[in-house]
Amino acid sequence: MQRIGVFVCHCGSNIAATVDVKKVAEMARLEPGVVFADDYQYMCSEAGQAKIGAAIKEYNLTGLVVCSCSPRMHEATFRKCAERYGLNPYMVEIANIREHCSWIHKDMEEATQKAVILARAAIAKVNLNAPLQAGESRVTKRALVIGGGIAGIQTALDIADAGYEVDIVEKTPSIGGRMSQLDKTFPTLDCSACILTPKMVDAAGHEKIKIYTYSEVEKVSGFVGDFTVDIRKKARSVDEAKCTGCGVCQEKCPSKKTPSEFNRGLNNRSAIYTPFAQAIPNVPVIDREACIKFKTGKCGVCEKVCQAGAINYAQEDEIITEKYGAIVVATGFDTIKLDKYDEYAYSQSKDVITSLELERIMNAAGPTKGHLERLSDGKAPKEIVFVQCVGSRCSDERGKPYCSKICCMYTAKHAMLIRDKYPDVNVTVFYIDVRTPGKNFDEFYRRAVEEYGVNYIKGQVGKVAPQPDGSLLVQGSDLIDNKQIKIKADMVVLATAIEPNQGVRNIATMLTASIDTNNFLTEAHPKLRPVESPTAGVFLSGVCQGPKDIPETVSQAGAAAVKVIGLLAKDKLTTNPCTAQADELLCNGCSNCAKVCPYGAITYETRQVNDHGIREDRRIAVVNKALCQGCGACTVTCPSGAMDLQGFSNRQLIAEVDAICR
């Protein structure tokens, strides 16, 4: 028989205001196995834990039930506490009377009654708990960063600087990501390339960093500390070792009609290309869809002009298999498609552009060499309208329900830069709210209004109508003046909502990392563990977790790196002892459990068993404790109940069911 202590937490008033904690403790005392029950203001505090410790000693407790917040919050805390006072940590169960009770119920009597039942279930379970020993698993001292934008680069640099090997896998031909497409950055207006390129060079030259560009993660198996990843290195058709990056091939390539991804399709690129001049590696790739040689077999100009003999049409995709201890997702974002927003005439007029397109237009290396001009006729615009929240904060299916966070600031930046360089241009910004929480952010926005004379109008644009004379009639509302206004503009810039990059869902599935309905990866805790995925060993960096600007991304990248370093610094990890185990006397050896095991953790061996005096050789399931992650799929497949899950055993769960239904 267990000697169980029950500890009911008030959580200040979080629990105690709706649950009669004294009553819960009192009722718990009546349960079988309970020898002590008490309540306290903050169980998780040092004083609360000391109380638990004292009770363990005084009452010789063998099991603990803590009625408190979610086990996802403090189970680990109370397990450590138990261990400190000489109890096996797995003799602790949590009754979640906060998130599942006090916070959702208003009626005290009802909430108290439920709390009593939840406590009862936890007590019933502890009665059947057995001490468990955590095992150990090894840590591969190498990290993988998926995505080579500023988030990925910064994470990789920080990990590498701490002395650990790190690989970056980047889908496109060069690292650099979105930041490489930007012209200037807010709120200091320094040139994006000037601050990014040195980091790219650092990463490329770092002895601990290996960069796989034009590559994608194809398969992930294993678990924290011991992931095995297949990386598909797509055929570049150019030998990286031989290429000197002279660029002659790109000049001579006769196929020059492919929209440039880097310039957002505003101009064209050749079939053999590097996305931009500062690309790293400075080695082009052949776009086989566009290449005449690949399409017709005739051409081969690049091969002829390449002095280094680097062109290799026969190159094939390569699969690289590597082991990692930790994986960081830094897959970034893209702007949403605007095909559902007819009212802004984005697809009808070349002069309605997204803000990211404007970045390319403003950039000296962009399609207009940095001259602000209309893409339709090359004329200098005199009247520019910016529209905020295009597709952001939309509760319908056309857009995204969230705030994209960066638009207010970059729109202020764009408006300011234009007014600075072209003082004769009128700039109007339609906004719903201007959100500038950040250091020097609001000052920046105010400068746009006060010093640069940008015309901010509170209201949204309802319609952009291209006119026969090539202008754009913008119809918007001015909510302050209570007017509907019409502006004849030369250019309209849409602050288009951002969304996680395509393919992130696929990566999340491979990593078994959870992802929300907007395709942002979920963090382990929104406040306390913002850079970790709930899946152990997987970390989040940058916009893949939620909209953020460059400074925030860089801070998160560093934070993710620290988490990775903390993990890689360990020689061994303790493994979850809640693993499956087969009872050799009940096992049929039928192999069905192995079929449903996602980790290949179950094998079979023939061994002699002594079944109540009958000795015979039997085929028995054996669980590899290091591989088993404790899902329990095998336990239900097993008809005889031979396979059971420690910590969530059949009898424990049934005891909980019984206690709840009592």
């Binding site: 009212e343 929240c389 904060r393 939309c394 509760s395 319908d396 056309r398 857009g399 719903i432 509170k458 209201g459 949204q460 644009v461 309802g462 319609k463 119809q475 918007g476 509302s477 001015d478 909510l479 209570n482 509907q484």
Partner: protein, 125 residues
Amino acid sequence: MNAKEQVQQISGVNPYKCMKCGKCSATCPAYEEMDIKPHQFVSYVQSGNIEALAACKSMWKCLSCFACVERCPRDVQPGRILDAARQIVVRQRGGNYLTAEEIPPLVDEDLPQQLLVSAYRRYKR
């Protein structure tokens, strides 16, 4: 049921979803004709001032083109609110609906098809 609830029930609209962006007013082709502007319909319902809403001129200026309904990013659909207010007024006047048979002789040959459709939209509830 008070008038505010009535409007909400008829329109199926939750006015509290409004984020006051003004896109409805920005999009409205009959804006200039209106005394109460489309974005204000929502705040009138929020504050429960249905009486004023029901007395407004806008109600009879709205073309029921539903551009505001289409483009509202928050699914508040001011056009439906006005529609509901109109319903309330029509009901108060004694439910003087026409029957389907009564319509054809009343229809002016030169009447634009669109207007008819908008009238059907307006009165079909």
